[in-house]
Amino acid sequence: MKIKLTSASYSVRSIKFSFCSNLLAKPRKPSLFLGRGIEIILFFSYFKDLVGREVTVELKNDLAIRGTLHSVDQYLNIKLENTRVVDQDKYPHMLSVRNCFIRGSVVRYVQLPPDGVDIELLHDATRREARGG
């Protein structure tokens, strides 16, 4: 909020308030750090680089879904495309599901393609986080 004083004598009655244009812009992005430290960023950035790769997400309820990683967000929610369930007979209700949104809190594992992992890069990034954290 900017306060503009219109008169040279700075008398109170001529103070003009001009509201910052930010209020009309789209919502401010919430802080990516979530108060839990900078470690969250590492996995978010890592998954962002894996977008477009084929992954298998295993959930805490033992459901395993294979699909192309479409997107990931700061909560590590995952959106998959071209999904198929690993054990289709056990989960008949998932037959016609081709795209899904998976809440980050229910993921147990994300199984990655072996060539999708640049071990050296990950090690460096982890070392950097450990030093900074």
Binding site: T83, S96, C100
Partner: protein
């Protein structure tokens, strides 16, 4: 849910692409709800229109209509978009009435309880 502007809605994990689509929502307690996505928020709280619960017991299933449902995000496991061109369930499954499926559910529950109690009894006997 990421903060998506109007331009990057297709690249983000926003549920906006699922609005007014028929969805399958899996809940933490194992329930499967189907319905049209009316609205959502950053916690994955979801409002489903024309919701029904699909109860599946073995080869039997039943859709129990529920109406307008508000689901708290912490209970959501997965939100899947149902492909209208494909069959939602394998052909060998048969639709039954609500009372039938409740009876089948009860029988299944009793069977698992029995298995559990038998196992406990065996463990007490401490077989090697």
């Amino acid at each position: 849910m990421s903060w998506a502007g109007p331009d990057d809605i297709f690249l983000s994990t926003s549920l906006a692409t699922y609005l007014d689509k028929k969805l399958l929502v899996l809940l933490r307690d194992g329930r499967k709800l189907l319905g049209l996505l009316h609205s959502f928020d950053q916690f994955a709280n979801v409002v489903l229109e024309g919701a029904c619960e699909r109860v599946i017991v073995g080869n039997l299933y039943c859709d129990i209509p529920l109406g307008l449902y508000v689901i708290r995000g912490e209970n959501v496991v997965l939100i899947g978009e149902l492909d209208l061109e494909k069959e939602e369930l394998p052909p060998h499954m048969t639709a039954v009435s609500e009372t039938e499926i409740k009876r089948a559910q009860k029988a299944e529950r009793e069977a698992t309880d029995l298995k559990g109690s038998m196992r406990k009894r065996m463990e007490f006997l401490d077989f090697d």
